[in-house]
């Protein structure tokens, strides 16, 4: 069990990327100090701890920084191997599969989500939405193959890929609300729709998943201030 003060996480409550290590730390039953960054003004500590990217999240373990959300999640899994469940699967091929879909989510799917708010005009918006729906269909397929009938991508408990995708559920709901869409449609992606409910209800997630209302307000603020969706 990590002693108080040994683990710190620099982050912000709205960020899905910050949510990833928080879920991982919760799964491992680890205590940590959450150092909330003020939006729009980066702290000295953040700039010192992540000089390369200057971004959240940053994990500080005994003052040593680990950056990049999925790198942090893997670190948490490896640094505390006997605490809580394993976050990554044990089989190399399953690990490669989990990493593949996590990379797909970060490089293709989440950017396509941001594309919806950025799209100008009816046609562009429809194209942007189609792209996201297409991605969700791929992920539905992947869920079926990977979960093999179990509740999560990780099996009986939340794993790496659950964390990689699940962290975006708050933003999915905001997008559904502001655009008048149903993305996690029971009819189109039944597996994912039920998985999303289970994920959000999980004790490792509940306390760190922001309320849709709060997130929607935050999104409005960002759009008003910057005229664009929040940066990735």
């Amino acid at each position: 069990m990590a002693k108080g003060g040994e683990v710190k996480l620099i982050g912000g409550w709205p960020s899905p990327f910050v949510m990833r290590p928080r879920i991982a730390l919760n799964l491992k039953g680890l205590e940590y100090e959450f150092l909330e960054e003020k939006f729009g003004a980066k702290s000295e500590l953040l700039l010192r701890s992540n000089p390369v990217h200057k971004k959240i999240p940053v994990l500080l373990h005994a003052d040593r920084p680990v950056c990049e959300s999925l790198v942090i999640v893997q670190y948490i899994d490896e640094a505390w191997p006997s605490s809580g469940p394993s976050i990554l699967p044990s089989d190399p091929y399953d690990r490669a599969t989990a990493r593949f879909w996590a990379a797909y989510i970060d490089e293709k799917w989440f950017p396509s989500m941001s594309g919806i708010a950025r799209a100008q005009g009816e046609e562009a918006k429809k194209a942007a939405i189609d792209l996201v729906v297409e991605g969700l269909s791929l992920l539905e397929d992947a869920f079926g193959k990977i979960s093999k009938g179990k509740p999560f991508f990780g099996g009986d408990t939340i794993g790496f890929l659950d964390i990689a995708l699940g962290c975006f559920l708050g933003w999915v709901r905001v997008t559904e609300r502001t655009q008048g869409l149903k993305l996690l449609d029971q009819a189109k992606v039944p597996g994912l729709a039920k998985w999303a409910e289970r994920f959000c209800a999980d004790s490792a997630v509940k306390g760190v998943m922001p309320e849709t209302e709060k997130l929607a307000e935050f999104a409005k603020l960002i759009m008003a201030k910057f005229g664009a969706p929040p940066p990735q």
């Binding site: 390369v52 790198v71 893997q74 490896e78 640094a79 190399p92 091929y93 593949f100 990379a103």
Partner: protein, 219 residues
Amino acid sequence: MADEVILLDFWPSMFGMRCRLALAEKGVKYEYKEEDLKNKSDLLLRMNPVHKKIPVLVHNGKPVCESLIILQYIEETWPDRCPLLPSDPYQRAQARFWADYIDKKFYGLGRKVWTTKGEEQEVAKKELIEIMKVLEGELGDKPFFGGEKLGFVDVAIVPFSTWFYAYEMCGNFSIEAECPKLIAWTKRCLEIETVSKSLVDPHKVYDFILQLKKALGIE
């Protein structure tokens, strides 16, 4: 039962070279299949339906895609020989961070250097050099990013060096003049047999780029 390992690849690809090098380091026998990217094989489209890209490692019929994911798979499947990642979790996290850094920053800028001209190219050149300087900072006084031996980050980065000559010729600048430490590191890597055998000739890469520019209508 013998392992069946196939690598679907394209000779000038730095991402493909990463896999060739990792397999060589591990002493894994494999079948190299050259893809014609203008006419992708059925096998490639079946093995990587999501991205339809090389490299793809096919191990006993099962595909692994994305070069850094392939590297980790190779490391975890053949763990006993030439470990590429350190055993300490913190060092492993640092290695993964720097490999991710390369993928996020390097490729796009390199591409801009050989596909653009004028102001856009100047900006790309400047940013590329800045990234190389960051890498030099990370390398420090170590012979390799992995320390005393070739490691995960070395394998991830060294294939990009085969494109340096093409960048220099297209951008009319000298990488060695700006980043002598990085060039010294690439030369050190090339002294290793697995590296020199896995990497392609930079002059051939330049010829390939010239042909590609012609085909794409870029001067």
